[in-house]
């Protein structure tokens, strides 16, 4: 798509605005891994349950509305095995490392948090290495 960079930029602005709403409105970090864990009772600390649940329910709701407005979005789905392996690692890793692309990447880096900048550099590098390895191994 020739305009995909523009969609990327606009989508990014929406994501950042949503995170800014959480910060300035509710005083919270819009970290999806932490909010998901909190919403499902898998985190001991964090925002009130109902708050986390509302944000998490909003994600597919907003995605659905946007897909309708755009007349559908195309997704290519990976194999079930990669979904399971990827999901397990993403779940464990984000809890161990206290955040994911939203919490460390968007919220933490814009705060110039050393922890978040380090985490983001590492998970980017590790993701790049993983894709390169899978390409070499023909996976």
């Amino acid at each position: 798509m020739p305009l995909s960079w523009l969609f990327g930029l606009l989508g990014g602005l929406m994501i950042g605005t949503a995170a800014a709403l959480m910060l300035l409105g509710l005083g919270r970090i819009a970290g999806v891994s932490g909010l998901a864990a909190r919403a499902t009772g898998l985190a001991d600390a964090g925002p009130p349950h109902t708050l986390a649940m509302a944000f998490i329910l909003g994600l597919p709701l907003g995605g659905w509305l946007m897909a309708r407005a755009m007349g559908g979005v195309s997704l290519s789905i990976p194999s079930t095995a990669t979904l399971v392996v990827g999901g397990l690692l993403v779940g464990f890793g984000t809890r161990l490392g206290s955040g994911c692309t939203s919490g460390h990447g968007v919220c933490g880096m814009s705060r110039f948090s050393r922890r978040s900048i380090l985490a983001t550099v590492i998970f980017m590098a590790s993701g790049i290495a993983t894709v390169a390895f899978m390409r070499m191994a023909g996976l």
Partner: protein, 155 residues
């Protein structure tokens, strides 16, 4: 009620942004990480676009005593660069590279590609549960303070 609506609105705006940006597509995300192959740099614009409003928001936050719709700011105050942070980021990155999904897009995709997203989210919650039940319990007296992942580091 005001707080719940605001959280729902923020979540919906976040999910809509993910769907518009292309981050909801696992193949695009893997293309972005594939810098030694068929690299697709589009998602740089997503991160750049997201960082701009947040950069402004942090400047405003520094001037506020309290958030607009809550009593106080509950923000991470940890500064430790420890093995937990590094190990967690390494594992998360591997999972991200394998499937092309991180938590936000995965949960958003529950509405866009329900079957696949359900498998991933279930596995992700299992991974989170595995962490919860293998790590020492956190002190609950400090529950009000959230870390990036809603978790406070032990002291």
């Amino acid at each position: 009620m005001k707080q719940i609506s605001l959280a729902l609105l923020a979540g919906a705006l976040f999910g809509a942004g993910l769907a518009l940006s292309g981050m909801a597509d696992p193949a695009k995300v893997r293309g972005f990480l594939d810098i030694f192959g068929a690299w697709n740099p589009t998602l740089m614009f997503v991160m750049g676009g997201a960082l701009m409003p947040m950069g402004v928001a942090w400047r405003i936050q520094a001037k506020l005593r309290a958030p607009l719709a809550a009593e106080r700011f509950n923000l991470p105050d940890t500064t430790k660069l420890d093995a937990r942070l590094i190990g967690g980021a390494v594992l998360f990155g591997i999972g991200w590279g394998v499937a092309g999904l991180c938590p936000g897009p995965a949960i958003t995709d529950l509405a866009l590609a329900p079957r696949a997203a359900f498998v991933f989210v279930l596995a992700m919650l299992a991974g989170m549960a595995a962490f919860k039940f293998t790590s020492p319990r956190q002190p609950t007296a400090r529950n009000l303070t959230a870390d990036w992942g809603g978790r406070k580091d032990e002291r």
